[in-house]
Symmetry: C2
Amino acid sequence: MTSQTSTDGVTERSFTLGEIPGVLFTPEGATGPRPLILMGHGGGQHRRAPGVLAGAYRFAAEGGFAVAAIDAPNHGERRKSERFLRFAGDMRARMAAGEDPAGLVGAMHDLLAEQAVADWQAVLTAVQELDHVGAGPVGYWGVSMGCGLGVPLLAVEPRIRAAVLGLLGVHGLAESAARVTVPVQFLLQWDDTRVPRDQALALFDALGSAEKTLHANLGDHGGVPEFETDTALRFFARHFG
Amino acid sequence: MTSQTSTDGVTERSFTLGEIPGVLFTPEGATGPRPLILMGHGGGQHRRAPGVLAGAYRFAAEGGFAVAAIDAPNHGERRKSERFLRFAGDMRARMAAGEDPAGLVGAMHDLLAEQAVADWQAVLTAVQELDHVGAGPVGYWGVSMGCGLGVPLLAVEPRIRAAVLGLLGVHGLAESAARVTVPVQFLLQWDDTRVPRDQALALFDALGSAEKTLHANLGDHGGVPEFETDTALRFFARHFG
């Protein structure tokens, strides 16, 4: 833990675990155990992306939860590997040439998933050792790349008991999605120009969870309505309350 | 208004308007204007069906809303016309013979829609004359047949400003759905054996509303999770609050 600031009733603590820069959000003055939400950002973003911050503040202030956000491998302040840079450049060129992006995006998530899963498992263990987080129930929130890295995490990590996912197609994820068994709230944008509707519906369908709810809203990839932060909060509160 | 009982903080008043038997739910001791939710029941059901009551009590007790529920034409305590009885018998026989039910269900709703729309318009006018209802915003809640009769109502009735619909396919409704412009929350059951998934997605798609959210849950036609009553309450509260 390297620094601490408090705003709007939420305390942010920056941390570094090995090579992983992260930030922990808790209600100001929090003591004792509480639910923990892990928040994964989108492709090209970082641990303090606007979509992450909007959720983190409400989850902490209104839900009383702890929230941990980290930079994904090769994102934010983390060193970018030669392999990643080559892959990203190649991906941009092939997308510009008109190639279907679904396979390319899936392959990119594949490249990052193994490290991302190990990162989250280490962060989860470390953060739960803090007195004001403790061994409460754990949730995961991540859409787009945050879903692409979250599904493999949920497939292998039994400590996570509920998840908000979405904004991604089934490409490359069918097998790990089938191993997800926790309750899921899945966001889909009806007019998503990056994720074909049928591929997103297929990923929702592929999830092995006995309880899962699809929330589809009008608009493109970046246009998830603000009220879905409220529904995510209520979803976690329902399962962890 | 012919009788009155109070339970769990909610007052129920039975009424008859012309040939229409209805029930009005309000918070106990309510005075002054408040939002009004019209609740339409499913096929073969009546104004006090369990799905209607569950919503009505929560909308009144927790939302502070007034809720009106009426028997649909040829349903509940209303006289069944010869034409309806012939049609219903014919429909059962054709379904038993394996005919695709979507067209039959659509035709049945068509038979009832004109009268149902006129009924709701008269009830809305009458109920809003009561001091403890008044001219607040109006919502509509109805799934399955309640959606089949609700879509034509929403298409022509500008006093209704938000609606929860669903559990129905697009058959026969495409044109009226396109004329619906208010915010809609649309329920879909992912494993509905009565309503093919693609037809339900097509009805959601056909709605003309600029704000609409699809909520799809696992399970068959009758298996809408209890928490969707909570999301409906929050949807109306968000628009009418």
